[in-house]
């Protein structure tokens, strides 16, 4: 006798509450089977978003610090710029290391193209929170537009980052031996070019953050909005 036949016999023979209990157990088992909790899972969109947002915010403050260090070289040029140069070299080193995460993200967005965001959209379609799923369905056109804007901003960041970093590295190399007023003055063009690229980069990061905030607002259930 198989397990199924035992259960079926139990259901047939039992009346009243037992029948209901067995039916409820069967229903619970089916619901359990339908969930995707056992399979390998990508990070939830929420976790992914929080981490991504954090990376973008960190990159923005890193940019602030780097551009400030760059400014200080010019400001301190007619005094003793050695300390300003040392701080600048440290800032460049930090940006070389700390930018890896955000650059890897924007590069991956380019490499995967639309598939990167389709992955997020697919997740939104299967999210367990019914309110969020409903909101995602309602705001599908706006979300699509935000994903597109996010992709464009990421492209801007990706395209400007490398030339910006190259300018900084060149400046660090050129000024290392003698960070004097004459040398700094000779690199005025490079400093201005680096600043310009830095500002473009900041704009790109600002745009990414703005789009992420829009997406978060679109998917926030009304109760959470009221709480805020």
């Amino acid at each position: 006798m198989t397990i199924r036949s035992v259960i079926q016999a139990g259901i047939r023979n039992s009346g009243g509450p037992w029948r209901l209990v067995l039916q409820a157990a069967a229903a619970a088992a089916l619901v359990g089977c339908a969930s995707t909790a056992t399979g390998p899972k990508a990070p939830t969109l929420r976790a992914d978003f929080i981490e991504y947002r954090q990376t973008v915010v960190q990159s923005m403050s890193m940019m602030e610090a780097t551009l400030h260090a760059l400014d200080e070289i010019s400001v301190q040029a007619h005094r003793d710029p050695h300390q300003a140069y040392a701080d600048f070299a440290k800032a460049v080193h930090r940006i070389e290391v700390d930018s890896v995460k955000v650059r890897a993200r924007v590069h991956a967005m380019r490499a995967r193209g639309d598939a990167y965001f389709e992955h997020w959209q697919e997740y939104l379609g299967t999210v367990k929170n019914e309110q969020v799923r409903k909101l995602a369905e309602e705001h599908q056109p706006e979300l699509k537009q935000s994903f597109e804007q996010l992709r464009l901003a990421a492209t801007q960041v990706r395209e400007v980052f490398r030339p910006f970093l190259s300018d900084l590295q060149k400046l660090r190399a050129v000024l290392e031996a003698d960070p004097s007023l004459a040398h700094i003055d000779a690199q005025k063009g490079l400093i201005l070019a680096a600043k310009d690229k830095g500002r473009q980069l900041q704009q790109g990061l600002d745009r990414i953050l703005a789009e992420m905030n829009s997406i978060t607002a679109l998917l926030r259930p009304p109760a959470a909005v009221a709480k805020h």
């Binding site: 399979g39 390998p40 890897a104 990167y116 660090r172």
Partner: protein, 185 residues
Amino acid sequence: MRLLTNLRPNDSKNDDLPMNLISSKSALPLGLGLLVGLAVLWASVFYAQAQWPGTAPTTPMAQRNAMNLVLNQVSWFQNSTRTASAYVGGGYGMLLQQFQAVRNQYSGFKSTLNAQQLSSGANQVAELDSGLDIIQEAFADYQTAVANGQSNGSAFSNMAQVLNQAMAVWVQEFKQDCSQLQVGW
């Protein structure tokens, strides 16, 4: 093997019956046995094709092994970045070689992921791929820095530190992704 055993008359439960009855009653089981045998044979051929030499197995054990190989290689690489300047010739070539070894181990690791992991972790895998490409840029940056007038010692020391710290960021992501994708479970 299953095909042959199914055809053996001794395996039949009806072997105490007279011959004429066996022939008439075992016609259906024999046919079914033949079908089952063919199905098993087809499945074994299909499995053999799926496990063709050159493709890595995707068992949890293989995944765990491949993951540990990546982690070990990263660890060796990070140790090398700390000691490379003491090597004859500056250790640039040695670091580059070690970095390629990390890439190779990571490539081997990816080949152990199953279809579901590759699909649900496609963004994460793309980010890890890009991360290694970005870290590799440090080698070219070192050469550019020297060409731009930076001292060899300072440029090399900077490259080694960038490689070490950037690899720490990468391996942290790698571990997190492995955990989320249930690698080796």
